[in-house]
Symmetry: C2
Subunit: 143 residues, 2 copies
Amino acid sequence: MKNLSNEPCLIARSLALVGDAWSMLIMRDANAGLTRFDDFRKSLGIAPTMLTGRLSALTEEGLLAKRRYSERPPRDEYVLTEAGRDLLPVLFSIGAWGRKHRGGGKVTRFFDAETGTEIDPVTIDRATGAAVGTRPIRIAAPE
Amino acid sequence: MKNLSNEPCLIARSLALVGDAWSMLIMRDANAGLTRFDDFRKSLGIAPTMLTGRLSALTEEGLLAKRRYSERPPRDEYVLTEAGRDLLPVLFSIGAWGRKHRGGGKVTRFFDAETGTEIDPVTIDRATGAAVGTRPIRIAAPE
DNA sequence: GTGACTTACTATTGTTTTCATAGTAACTCA
DNA sequence: TGAGTTACTATGAAAACAATAGTAAGTCAC
């Protein structure tokens, strides 16, 4: 796949980083609190070569940051940056699609820790308050 | 990558279909109004073998539907299903992340066709009204 | 201080996917 | 009849992926 990071479309640009399932799942796990190589590896069942590559790419792109948590032996973990945390709405909107269209059987669910209500994500346009997809959209190419 | 469609996590299940950049970009273009093989091919610069494979998979999974638009010569186009249209919020939330974190240079922008205001997507929890990520979350594994 | 264990990887080697390009089938149109 | 359109399929090389084993730098138990 060609490099998407200089496309005018911001969706394409984002997919340059996070447009593969492993990266998305790593970011999901990172947002769930995982930080260590072996935690990711066990959670995902990913080959270590793959994981090394993905973690380096995500770190380089600023979604994760490497933090040393032990000097002896030298050990690093991967913590979310702000950009990484900002992926949470993306993950939730993907999850909401899944609940609607692939929702059978046993599923992991998410609750607001304070109110205890199940989280029901909707993506709205802050300008109009309307849910995205309920009103016609005009696309403007640059220039 | 192993098959994700039976994972308990709905994010993972969704990524089984749409967890690669080509599929996402096809769905983006389909939501922008493209329907024909050659339109997708030219828009994306994708190899035809790839495109055939992705379109079949997306059709099989119910995100697109094949519709015959000419009997002689026999010609099919790919139209969005409801499930495909429901991906629009996902695409917009990805785009919103891109605008915030990869927003430099010339970018394609989206406007509300009626009000003319630029669309500014936020993913909120319908239950609490709060933006996803601003409140603590509790994860509940099945059973 | 020796052996078992932990953690974060790298090396290696097949297999699978992807990519680019060319070609084909079934037409239409001038 | 010959060029053009559209939706593909065929082919081979290049790249990515996956499984497994191994390594580096330690700690811990006895």
